[in-house]
Amino acid sequence: MDLAALHRDERSQAIIGLLIGIVFGFLLQKGAVTYYEVIMGQLLLTNFTVVKVMLSAVLAGMIGFFLLKRRGMVRPHIRQGSIGSNVVGGLIFGAGFALLGYCPGTVAGAVGQGNLDALFGGVVGLILGAGIFSRMYPSISRGILKKGSFRSGTLPDLLRMKEQTVIVLMAIGILLVLGGLELLRL
């Protein structure tokens, strides 16, 4: 199969996007992370389902991505970050995350399971927010978004360690956190 040709075929890609979305939405709903109570439980530190889903996704995906990349079947998509973009934007995102009780992916899943606040509040707000940002973009794109650029793109780069070593350390760290959450019955 010629993957490069598949990547260029826009019609096929739109269909693949839909199919990946369907599987993703199905998994988010089965994982219960489409529920307001589960997401707020995570932010109030009483329910750790969101962290469990995210860390096991990172664990499996990190290993899968590494193996595929070594065979030249995937390429990395990493952007250089900055304090002005990732820290400031991340904190604004966090405030919205807690007020809404869903994130941009789970809000769509919540709509699918029937949550009308996700549709008439969350989706409407997200579209408005995207529109507001598109108006702000010209004035911040060369200013605050570039402030305090990070020197390294990836963790192995930052730590000056081999990628395999970082993956093993991350995997051990993730397993320890997940094991700890189970021991504490969180």
Partner: protein, 173 residues
Amino acid sequence: MLGILGLATWSPYVVGVAIGLLVCLSLLLSDRPIGCSTAFVKTCGLIEKAFRGKNVEGTEYYREIPPRVDWQFMILPGIVTGAFISSILSGVFRPEWIPSLWQATFGGDVYLRIGVAILGGILLGIGARWAGGCTSGHGISGTLQLSVASMISAACFFIGGILTAMTLFSLGG
């Protein structure tokens, strides 16, 4: 088989591992990580295009993220559909205006809930584009590629989220 598909919830570890592998599949088949916040930019651009015509292509941000019905847009109706199928198969689909935890804490005023949700959505939309990704794009897809920017973003999503949630729920009593 429908037995498993009909369960209300799966183990978070099973779901997480499957999502991680789905990101790998997406990188393989589409040369794209999974992310959701770009879809809202495209939706907004498509709505503006319907009202303002070709003018929107003068907006700098829409030149970078063209308002088109493509992969990054289609993931959104996909997620809605997938969650709908899952909730129908397990019989938990239920139209609901106010989540029970909100109702128990802040009461049954629909306008209050929708108002706060819209405000939250606006901040979420601005923040996601400001940081260049969301919980899926940075938190999962970027972090599993060991991106420093993604890990810092994800940490800030939760720091901001925890501080805001604790403040909000202390107001609710």
